[in-house]
C-alpha cells in the first residue's frame, strides 16, 4: 500500500520539524497525586501519562507472594479517549504484554529483597496517546517509585527509536510509528548503561539497528536528567532549612 505522506524530507527534516536526532518536548512532574505513595506526570510530545505507586503493601492476590522479596505489579492502561478510535475500556492483550515488560524493567532496579511477601503496585494510565506510550509510562513509573520513597538503585529511563522513510529516527511520533518501517522501544539503567527493556518490530539492517540503539540510549540519558530534576524540584523547597529538626521522640 502506498503512503501519500512524506515522513522525512530529503533534508532530513521530519513532519514536526525535528531532525532525526531530536526527541519531542518533554515535561516531568513528581508528586502530583495526594493519595498515592508516589506519583508522576509525564508529557512527551502529545503523550500525556500519569503514574502512581502504592506500596510496599500486602500482596494481593496472595498466591503471588514471594517469601524472599517484594513483587512489582505494574498495570498499564490506556484510557478510552486516549486514542482517535475510542478504545474499549478493560484490559487487552497488548496492555498485558506491556504491563509485563514494564514490571520486569522496574524490578531490575527496585531493592525488592527488603520487603519479602509484599507487593509494590504501579499504575500507569495513558491519558492521551501519540506513539511511545510504553516508554513514557515506564519513565513516569520510575519517577513515581522514587517519589514513593522505594529503595532503588537508579531511575530507569526510557525512550523509543525507529525508522521511517529509510531514516533512523529518535522518538517516533504517531505518524512515523504508523507509517514507518521500524519501532525500537528501549529502557536503560543510566548508572550501568545496561538495557532493561528492549523490543523491536519492523525491518532493519544491523547498521540501522545499531544506530537506533545509539540514538535511543542518548535519548534515555537526556530524559534521565529531567526525571532527576523533577524529583529534586519537588523536595528542594522543603529542605532549604535547619538541619535535624529534632531527633527526640
Amino acid at each position: 500500500m502506498s503512503k501519500e505522506m512524506v515522513l522525512v524530507d530529503d533534508k532530513g527534516k521530519r513532519i514536526d520539524g525535528r531532525t532525526s536526532e531530536e526527541s519531542r518536548e518533554i515535561k516531568i512532574e513528581a508528586g502530583v497525586l495526594k493519595n498515592a505513595d508516589g506519583s508522576a506526570y509525564v508529557e512527551i510530545g502529545k503523550n500525556k501519562v500519569l503514574a502512581a505507586v502504592y506500596g510496599p503493601r500486602e500482596c494481593h492476590p496472595r498466591h503471588l507472594q514471594n517469601p524472599t522479596k517484594a513483587i512489582v505489579q505494574c498495570k498499564y492502561n490506556m484510557q478510552a479517549y486516549s486514542v482517535d478510535d475510542r478504545k474499549r475500556p478493560g484490559t487487552d492483550r497488548r496492555s498485558i504484554e506491556i504491563s509485563k515488560i514494564v514490571s520486569e524493567a522496574l524490578e531490575n532496579v527496585v531493592l525488592t529483597g527488603l520487603y519479602p511477601r509484599a507487593s509494590i503496585d504501579v499504575y500507569i494510565e495513558i491519558l492521551q496517546a501519540n506513539a511511545g506510550t510504553r516508554c513514557a509510562g515506564l519513565t513516569a513509573a520510575s519517577v513515581a517509585l522514587a517519589d514513593a520513597g522505594i529503595p532503588m538503585k537508579d531511575i530507569v529511563a526510557s525512550m523509543a527509536a525507529g525508522k521511517a522513510d529509510g531514516h533512523v529516527l529518535l522518538d517516533l511520533n504517531k505518524e512515523e510509528d504508523n507509517f514507518g518501517e521500524a519501532d525500537v522501544p528501549m529502557a536503560i539503567v543510566p548508572s550501568t548503561g545496561e538495557i532493561v527493556l528492549l523490543q523491536m518490530d519492523g525491518n532493519m539492517t544491523r547498521e540501522e539497528f545499531d544506530r537506533a540503539i545509539e540514538l535511543g540510549v542518548g535519548g534515555c540519558k537526556k530524559i534521565y536528567e529531567l526525571q532527576k530534576d523533577a524529583l529534586k524540584r519537588r523536595y528542594s523547597a522543603e529542605e532549604a532549612e535547619e538541619e535535624d529538626d529534632s531527633d527526640e521522640q
Partner: protein, 237 residues
C-alpha cells in the same frame, strides 16, 4: 522556638546519584558501584564523620522495636487481632499481649473492627514479621477525641526541636496529644480546640516551606481559638 539559622540547603539526592568517589564510607541507604558511593533512595544527603548516608524523604512507615504506634483494628480472629498501622505488613496483636484475660473466641468482646488502639512494637524479625503489645504503661484502647494521620516522616517536625512545636500546640489548645511513630496522632479533646489542633497538625504535614513554621502555626492557633484569660493552665503532657 524555631531558629532560622542560615545554613546551606540540604542536598536532595535521587536513587543513582553519586555521593562520593569512595573516600568515605558507605552509610545507610547507599550502595557501591565501581568504587563510587551512590544513593539508594530519594532523600537528603548526610555526612557524619567519614560516612555518607541518605535520610529518606518519603516511603511507608517501617516499624522498629520499641516504637509507640496508634492503629485501627481491621480484622478479628479467635486469638488475635489484625491492626492497621500503615506499615507494608499486617500487624498482629495476640491475646497474650493485652492486659485482659481473653478466652478463645472472645476476642471481639474486647476489641472490635474499627477500634483505635495505642500499642508498642515488640519485635520485627528478618522477614519483617511484626509483633506488638498493649502491655505497657499508657497503652490502651483510645476513645473519643480526634485522629489525624500524617506522613511518618513529619513526626519529628510535629514534635519540634526539644518538643517545642507540640508543646506549643498542647498549650494553646489545651488538649492532650499522643503521637504514634507511624504518623497516626490522637488528640484527646473536643470541640473547637481539638479541631484547631487537627488543622495545625495537618498544616505541619502539608507545608512545603519550613521557614518560621512554628510561628505560623502558633499564629493560626491563636486566631482560631478564643484565648483563655490570663491564667492559662499548664496542660502537662
Amino acid at each position: 522556638m524555631s531558629d532560622i539559622s542560615k545554613r546551606s540547603p540540604r542536598e536532595v539526592v535521587v536513587p543513582g546519584d553519586v555521593l562520593d568517589d569512595g573516600n568515605m564510607r558507605a552509610g545507610e541507604n547507599t550502595y557501591l558501584l565501581n568504587g563510587e558511593i551512590r544513593a539508594g533512595i530519594l532523600g537528603v544527603k548526610r555526612v557524619r564523620q567519614n560516612t555518607v548516608s541518605v535520610i529518606p524523604l518519603g516511603g511507608r512507615y517501617m516499624p522498629e522495636t520499641k516504637d509507640t504506634v496508634i492503629g485501627v483494628i481491621e480484622d478479628v480472629g479467635s486469638s488475635i487481632w489484625m491492626v492497621d498501622i500503615g506499615a507494608p505488613y499486617p500487624a498482629p496483636l495476640h491475646v497474650s499481649e493485652v492486659p485482659w484475660k481473653v478466652a478463645f473466641g472472645d476476642t471481639s468482646k474486647y476489641l472490635s473492627v474499627g477500634d483505635v488502639v495505642m500499642l508498642k512494637i515488640l519485635m520485627v524479625d528478618e522477614s519483617n514479621k511484626i509483633s506488638m503489645t498493649m502491655k505497657d504503661a499508657g497503652l490502651r484502647k483510645l476513645e473519643g477525641g480526634r485522629i489525624v494521620k500524617i506522613s511518618h516522616t513529619k513526626v519529628s517536625r510535629v514534635i519540634g526541636k526539644s518538643g517545642s512545636m507540640i508543646q506549643m500546640i498542647k498549650n494553646i489548645t489545651d488538649c492532650r496529644i499522643f503521637i504514634g511513630q507511624n504518623g497516626t496522632i490522637w488528640i484527646d479533646g473536643e470541640g473547637v480546640n481539638a479541631d484547631a489542633a487537627v488543622e495545625a497538625i495537618k498544616m505541619i504535614d502539608e507545608e512545603t516551606v519550613k521557614a518560621n513554621l512554628t510561628e505560623r502555626v502558633k499564629e493560626f492557633l491563636e486566631n482560631t481559638i478564643p484565648q483563655v484569660e490570663d491564667d492559662k493552665e499548664e496542660g502537662d503532657e
